[in-house]
Amino acid sequence: MELLLQQVLAGLATGGIYACMALAVVMIYQAIDHLNFAQGEMAMFSTFIAWQLIQWGLPYWVAFAITVVVSFVAGILIDRVLFRPIQNAPILSQVVAFIALFSILNSSAGQIWDFTIKSFPTPFGHTSLFGSTLIDTHEAGMIGVTLGMLGLLYLFFRRTRLGLAMRAAAANPESARLVGIRVGWMTALGWGMAAAIGAVAGMLIAPVVFLEPNMMLGVLLYGFAGAVLGGMTSPGGAVAGGFAVGVIENVAGTFIPYFGRELKLTIALILIVAVLMVRPSGIFGRQAVTRV
């Protein structure tokens, strides 16, 4: 029982990482209706920028703020320069464009900052929480920030006109244009926000997994799994999904005999797929109903 509790707690701690990433993934999905494979790399690159600023002597929070702003702008630029020209191309072509972006970001980060792992500071410190040795203040802080961002996003989308305009633009671009919404800029704004959230996610995740160009690959996989599990239409669901993935993986790895040790990733994914069988749009997702 003690071990189960420990693994669940450890799973929640790791799950916090996935939840953070899942939130960013769902954000961009809601803004542009596609899955952005390069989300992780954008977050990684932003985190490197922050690291570099800190290396040059800037205090943490200044570097943090600058990075978020720079990422926001970069997100908008990427949308305008890269995706506007191909927005009418088939979906798969756009997916390949994301793959290209992934490759570019990963390779340039490796070239500029090389591949040795670096430690990244955390504003929350690494002391243990409530005397427990399993969750420390940083992991708790990460979960807190994730939930906080979730809350802010909820308020933004549900309670502000701009948020409403963005949702309209993503849901039905033609009708949105008809009522005067600048759909192009809504998409760009969505990209900017997703990039900024990604940057925050990266800066929260890096202290745990160590900063290096390949740090986001595994996280993106799990974040994606969590987002799908929770439902791509529901940011709250995605966050919950992220936590769930962390816990499932840890528990499966420890307790399922014989298979668990080596196949824990496989088992976690099988469970997720099984859930999708029952609820094809994710646990909290909404079924998209299309008119014939």
Partner: protein
Amino acid sequence: MIRVTRRTILAAAPSILTVASLPARAAKKYDPGVTDTEIKIGNTCFYTGPASSYGTIGKAMAAHYKMVNDQGGVNGRKINFISYDDAYSPPKTVEQTRRLVEQDGVLLDAGPLGTPTNSAIWHYMNQKKVPQLFVSTGATKWDDPTHYPWTIGWQPNYQSEGRIYAAFIMKEKPDGKIGFLYQNDDFGKDYLKGLKDGLGDKAKAMVVVEASYETTDPTVDSQVVGMKAAGCDIFVNTGIPKFAAHAIRKAVEIEWKPLHILSSIGNSVAATLKPAGLDNAKGLVSDFYLKDPNDVTWKDDPGFKQWVAFMDKYYPEGDKTDAGNVYGPSNAATVVQVLKQCGDELTRENVMKQAANLKDFTVPMLLPGIKINTSPTDFAPVKQVQMGRFDGTQWRLFGPLIAGAVT
């Protein structure tokens, strides 16, 4: 009678000179890739892809060969070092190696990197009879001259390291419970086998937790937590730097203080210990065969100073705290020695013969006392290691040189 004119003398000159130089050494015999002025050698390394942190090894090797060329080359020939990226993908390694052998026409493959990547070309190289020289991996299977006479390893192999850890454990904590962390990979399992073989009958009782990780895992927290919960008091940590660092930090976070043994793969101060937190790494034990550039013991050591000068001049952008940049030139220096020993008989067969004929050869960055020895039945060049303990700032070597060759 041929009229002897200036033209005929000039035409005859090359043959006269060749004949004149013949008695000085054995007849020149060249295999593909060799001319009077050049020796072409090949290499594959991961410059891109998930394991690209090792790419610096290839770059350091290239820098070493450049230095050798600047100093006059090998017996008057410059080394043309061609290195291709295989992104840690075995099919790509096959393609790039075939390109080296069949298109570029290299004499040999010098220090190709990676275990599955070298496994992929193992048969090909032996079938084509091209030397697969001093492969940059510690898998035990490269030491097999009877079945694979064209392949030879270089560093101490993982199984012998595993046995050395077992011996150390038997001495320090013979009744302990071991938690073993390994990458779900060729080399991880090799280490495990060596450890278990070294423990013999006690292996089953002592190795309580065998926890693996994949390179896509974000952390290894769950594995470490499980080990503490199972009551382990010995931790054999064979992860690559990123995961070794995680494990070190997590162990401290959950207040678990086992006898913590790091493998030589993950013991770099810069790559592993610094990110993990130097204080967290106090008391760690590991094995070494190369000098750690962070160790101030070598401050005045001539070999070390030589290496620093080499890095400054030929690979200034290389990280002087990265162990890969010590490995690369040391491996390359061994290749150069083999080529030197070949003299003018630069055939592939002679290359392997000389590779199996290294006697007490040393390179500047090997630990003092470690000598490279090979023979036709012994394809394990570097066999010796020394144990070291981390004191919070650097590794302090202790004990004698330990030899452990497993065939």
